[in-house]
Amino acid sequence: MTIEALKEKITALLPSVLFEEGGQWPTILVEPADWHKVAVLLRQDDSLSFDFLFCLTCIDWKTHLTMVYHLDATSYRHNLVVKVKLEKVNPAIETVSDIWQTANFHEREVYEMFGVNFLNHPDLRLLILPDGWEGKNPLLKDFEDPINMIKL
């Protein structure tokens, strides 16, 4: 499927989403409340079938956070980037680990690194950081740790 066809298809399926231009792959912006519903559609629609979530991460923009999901369809080989804007304070978003199982680990990583709360996540605990690091999120831009961090 060409990029234009993909964009048309997504617009037909999800009239409310906005496209962001300039990226390597078609990028859509989704509201946090809609995200799980959109994800189900992207995964289950026969002509889209985004079955491979190859990257899940978060970016701290100081004023807000952005969740970034990179999707791939193994049967059609088209890609899509989904961005979800989250509040800086108490960010929360619906989990997608029920749709893509790989999200389970990736969301746990984002949870501890950025403090994003994934609603309905089956096992939201610290994965990489040791116990006692709950609430301290190293990858946030305003994170300070004079003991462990080496300034270059």
């Binding site: 990257c55 970034v68 199982q101 990489i128 990858l139 961090m149 270059l152």
Partner: protein, 371 residues
């Protein structure tokens, strides 16, 4: 002894495999619940070698941050560096000289063979056979010597820079690589005789650690782990970078989905890499080994993503630039992290000895998982 986590059924015991355990090849910590010898649950605890490389990269320039990535998947350091260099080049739209492209691919494939060699030895060691480890290292040493001559290092090479490679290949490079190919071809049958054909080995591997194609995709497994389940996921074929589309090689697929299939994928991949090297080694074009770049690199504002195929699977670099000299945010999508997440699913219901075999076939490199 760990405190009891959650509720366990009667007769279940919890044991800690790692962080210091011969089978975890590093500092992976698995808390496993077993009933007798049967595994009920596997729960990985990561982070023993977490250095927060992503955070570190935010304060390093576009030339510097590449060196840190050698320390992630130290067995595929060339390929990690390659991904980062490609990502920076994508942002700056640098045209890499064809000589540098060929050298990069040659290095990538040598790295892949070296990595698979090490995996092969360690895999056999997990199953209790010590000898293959030494046999694998005999060939791996030859690759390391080639690397040492050209890159100046044996493990963390840091050879790829934005715009090409750091320095030209050593005059001996082509001769030594050809010698290595001859050596490898004379020894590869030994591998099959010693391990692949062994009846005990086959019984230990076949039908163990089953992973269906759908699960492999859902868990984000890539590389030989997914290809053992019949999922086509070789980035070199699907989203070719450098000169891979001009090369003639096969994407190895096995449909078994068990440990043996994953084993066979890796063993057969080594021969494919040899074939790629053979195609290129006599055809290294003359010219520059590095494009002319500015002293200080500044990427334009935007996002750049580069996917490459390391020895373990798909490695991705997601770089967000704000236009400065350092990246605003870098995310490394490491293959081991996703592959590890499938371990619990694969291991449930099998024996403790199988867990070791499964971990072996996932080819886990812990710094790659923890980053």
């Amino acid at each position: 002894m760990v405190e009891e986590i959650g509720s366990t059924a009667a007769g279940d015991i919890i044991i800690n495999v790692g962080p210091q355990h011969p089978a975890t090849h590093g500092v992976l910590h698995l808390v496993i619940t077993i009933n007798g010898e049967t595994i009920q649950k596997v729960e990985p605890h990561l982070g023993y070698i977490h250095r927060s490389i992503e955070k570190m990269c935010e304060s390093l320039t576009y030339r510097q941050f590449i060196y840190v990535t050698s320390r992630m998947d130290y067995l595929s350091s060339h390929i990690n560096n390659h991904a980062c260099a490609l990502c920076v080049e994508k942002g700056l739209q640098i045209e890499v000289p064809s000589r540098a492209q060929v050298i990069r691919v040659l290095m990538d494939e040598l790295t892949r063979i070296a990595s698979h060699e090490l995996w092969w030895g360690a895999m056999a060691m997990d199953l209790g056979a010590f000898t293959p480890f030494f046999h694998a290292f005999r060939e791996r040493e030859a690759i390391n010597d080639i690397m040492e001559e050209t890159c100046g290092a044996r493990l963390t090479m840091n050879y790829m820079v934005p715009g090409g490679v750091m320095q030209d290949i050593h005059p001996n490079f082509q001769r030594r690589v050809k010698e290595f190919i001859a050596l490898f071809k004379s020894k590869v049958n030994e591998y099959n005789e010693l391990v692949t054909g062994n009846i005990i080995f086959q019984n230990r591997m076949k039908g163990v650690g089953n992973l269906s194609a759908a699960d492999a995709i859902s868990f984000g497994c890539t590389g030989p782990t997914a290809r053992g389940s019949g999922v086509s996921c070789d980035i070199r074929k699907l989203y070719p970078y450098e000169i891979y589309e001009t090369l003639n090689f096969e994407e190895i697929l096995e449909t078994g989905g068990d440990s043996f299939a994953r084993y066979m994928v890796r063993v057969r991949e080594m021969s494919q890499s040899i074939s790629i090297i053979e195609q290129l080694i006599d055809n290294i074009p003359e010219g520059d080994f590095q494009a002319k770049t500015k002293a200080v690199l500044k990427l334009p504002k935007g996002e750049f993503y580069q996917r490459v195929e390391t020895a373990r699977g798909e490695f991705g670099v997601y770089m967000v630039s704000e236009g400065g000299t350092t990246p605003y945010r870098i995310k490394y999508r490491s293959p081991g992290f996703s592959n590890l997440s499938a371990l619990d699913h694969m291991a449930r219901g099998s024996k403790l000895g199988d867990l070791v075999a499964m971990m072996g076939t996932l080819d886990l490199v812990i710094p790659d998982i923890d980053r």
